[in-house]
């Protein structure tokens, strides 16, 4: 279980980093979203992975660490709000600047130069 978990977090992080290094704002937003998923899963695992464990006392034989669950909840809410904001900002910059490049201007294509 640990190996699969670690692999998924790693894959999500790698995809997130790759996408957030792209030039267009939409892939960047998706990349940041993936990165925040990876972060949430990672944070969740920092209390060690437990199967069938409850976070509330007196409900089960096995207990899971409740703190990372609370942390993840906070991180999800904040990450969600931030993603919403950056999405709106991306649309705004598309409207204001006339293109969806993160720098606000497109790199000149070689073919266009020839024309």
């Amino acid at each position: 279980m640990e190996a699969i978990f670690a692999f998924s977090v790693g894959l999500l992080t790698a995809a997130g980093v790759f996408l957030s290094l792209r030039g267009r704002s939409f892939p960047v937003v998706v990349g940041i979203t993936l990165l925040s998923y990876a972060v949430n899963l990672f944070l969740f695992s920092s209390g060690r992975l437990t199967i069938n464990g409850a976070a509330v006392l007196g409900t089960s034989e096995v207990y899971a660490d409740p703190v990372p669950q609370a942390l993840v909840l906070t991180a999800i809410v904040i990450g969600f709000a931030m993603t919403a904001f950056v999405l709106i900002l991306g649309m705004r910059s598309r409207a204001d600047l006339g293109n969806d490049h993160v720098d606000g201007r497109l790199a000149v294509e070689p073919e266009e130069k020839k024309k």
Binding site: V28, L71, V86, D103, G104
Partner: protein, 504 residues
């Protein structure tokens, strides 16, 4: 009764006032919004003065949210350093808000509520004793700063905001990774508890904690504009409206404060094998930050850009002190931090006021119409320039002198002195060029613009007057910062106070 809750008030009060500003009787009229925001700011200053007074006796105030005792609950800690930072942020706010009444608050909605929310976040970051809570307050101040940066709209701001928001979102992801690593190995995020547990690590866990600690440096470095992460700063600060840029002058200091706090308390000299974790990194990076700030200052095409590069110089200077990491250096850094924040903010406001009166060229260094109030603005610029460049008789001189004295050991001085002095020289050259081209290279007819409103300029002067005041009261201020730095390094009493049963 109020004193019991004093530690929480600088956070909760601006939050409540910001929410009140959104409600009908106040939100309908701009005049009411201005009055209530200024009144809130005055109350905030009174609260923080009280806090400094309480903290100056040397007692550390603790506040347990919901009365959950540490290490389980969220903890607020007000020692000398945090009280000083809270006072700094509230005084800065008053200057910026006074300037904003001159018209920058009209360009969009919810200017004052956002301003107060950002103050709540900044104060929270200064007062919290819990690393996850620090993350939350970072996000509070960031989301307010995103909206403030783009306030008023325009192409330049949208462009700058895009970079700023994306960079900080990635920074937040890094922060959470660091928190996950540290919680997984240390089992706690209460800073005092972390400091007491860092000795008991298994050797294989030490590498992980080291990675977490260095990741934190990356995050705080992004906030404070440490060298490879500083490229966003000049553009962002010069695109923001003047009061917002002035408020942002303290945002880099939030990062520096976090480095000072986390890396003295948790990874400080008493952390066993992980002691002084960041020093080998901080040394070259801070010196290079100083250099790139000086190069940027010399190359700046406008006064705002110059002010932004001077902020980078001050960040480099402060981080050199953090790299030296002796109580004497930190005491000098705290003094310099207060000075550089206030004066850099004043310069941002001044750049806007000068730009408005020069017509179309604004604050760019080209010849333009004469400014309407050359003596008033000129003398303000003169004081700000002398103070930022570190010339006597103003506070920059005292701050830099203290820092040079703190680094007088030959092995350190051979690196620090040339860097500090040459960067000061670069600042003098850049500011002299700025002053001559802004005020003396006059062309065309006289300015037709109106003179700046009295209330607006009073914001600038309020911030500037702090510079001579900091020299006149230098004795008591340096005594305070010296004790604050000692308190920062002497962590055992803090640990015993926070964790009466568990401190080792």
């Amino acid at each position: 009764m109020i004193q019991q809750h004093l530690t929480l008030l600088p956070v909760i009060f601006p939050l409540i006032m910001g929410a009140l500003l959104l409600l009908p009787p106040i939100t309908n009229s701009l005049a009411r919004q201005r009055n209530v925001a200024l009144a809130a700011c005055l109350v905030l200053i009174a609260l923080s003065v009280w806090m400094v007074q309480v903290a100056s006796s040397g007692s550390i105030q603790l506040y347990y949210l919901g009365d959950w005792k540490p290490p389980f609950g969220i903890l607020f800690v007000a020692d000398r350093t945090s009280a000083l930072m809270v006072l700094l942020s509230s005084s800065l706010t008053l200057g910026a808000l006074l300037y904003a009444t001159g018209g920058d608050d009209k360009t969009g909605m919810f200017f004052y509520p956002l301003f107060l929310f950002q103050i709540a976040g900044i104060n929270g970051a200064f007062l919290t004793g819990d690393l996850f809570n620090l993350f939350v307050f970072f996000e509070v101040l960031l989301i307010a700063s995103y909206s403030l940066l783009i306030h008023g709209g325009g192409k330049q701001r949208t462009q700058a905001a895009m970079h700023y928001v994306i960079l900080n979102l990635v920074g937040s992801a890094f922060f959470l990774f660091a928190l996950g690593i540290l919680y997984g190995t240390l089992g706690t995020l209460n800073m005092a508890d972390m400091a007491s547990r860092i000795h008991q690590l298994q050797p294989d866990e030490q590498a992980l904690v080291k990675a977490g600690g260095l990741l934190l440096l990356v995050v705080f470095g992004l906030k404070s504009a440490l060298l490879p992460l500083q490229f966003w700063l000049p553009r962002t600060y010069s695109a923001a409206s003047a009061p917002v840029a002035a408020l942002f002058a303290i945002m880099t200091k939030v990062g520096i404060y976090s480095i000072l706090r986390v890396h003295t308390l948790v990874f400080g000299p008493e952390a066993g094998d992980l002691a002084n974790l960041i020093q080998p990194w901080l040394w070259p990076l801070s010196l290079l930050t100083l250099t790139i700030g000086a190069v940027g200052a010399l190359a700046s095409p406008s006064l705002r850009m110059l002010a932004a590069n001077l902020v980078i110089i001050s960040v480099g200077t402060l981080l050199i002190a953090a790299a030296i990491a002796t109580p004497q250096a930190i005491a000098a850094a705290l003094y310099y931090l207060v000075h550089s924040t206030l004066i850099a903010a004043a310069l941002f406001l001044l750049a806007d006021a000068i730009g408005e009166q020069r017509g179309k060229p604004g604050d760019r260094f080209v010849s333009a119409r004469r400014v309407q109030q050359p003596i008033l603005l000129g003398s303000a610029f003169f004081i700000a320039a002398l103070s930022l460049a570190g010339l006597p008789p103003f506070s920059g001189f005292v701050g830099k002198l203290m820092l040079l004295q703190a680094s007088s050991e030959p092995s350190i001085a051979s690196w620090v002195w040339p860097a500090l002095l040459i960067s000061s020289l670069a600042a003098i050259i850049a500011l002299a060029r700025a002053g001559t081209s802004l005020f003396w290279r006059v062309s065309g007819e006289n300015s037709a613009s109106e003179p700046a409103a009295v209330l607006k300029l009073s914001g600038v002067w309020l911030l500037l007057i702090c510079s001579p005041l900091m020299v006149i009261f230098a004795g008591s201020i340096t005594e305070y910062t010296r004790l604050a730095a000692e308190q920062l390094f002497n962590i055992q009493p803090t640990l015993e106070l926070i964790l009466p049963q568990g401190a080792k």
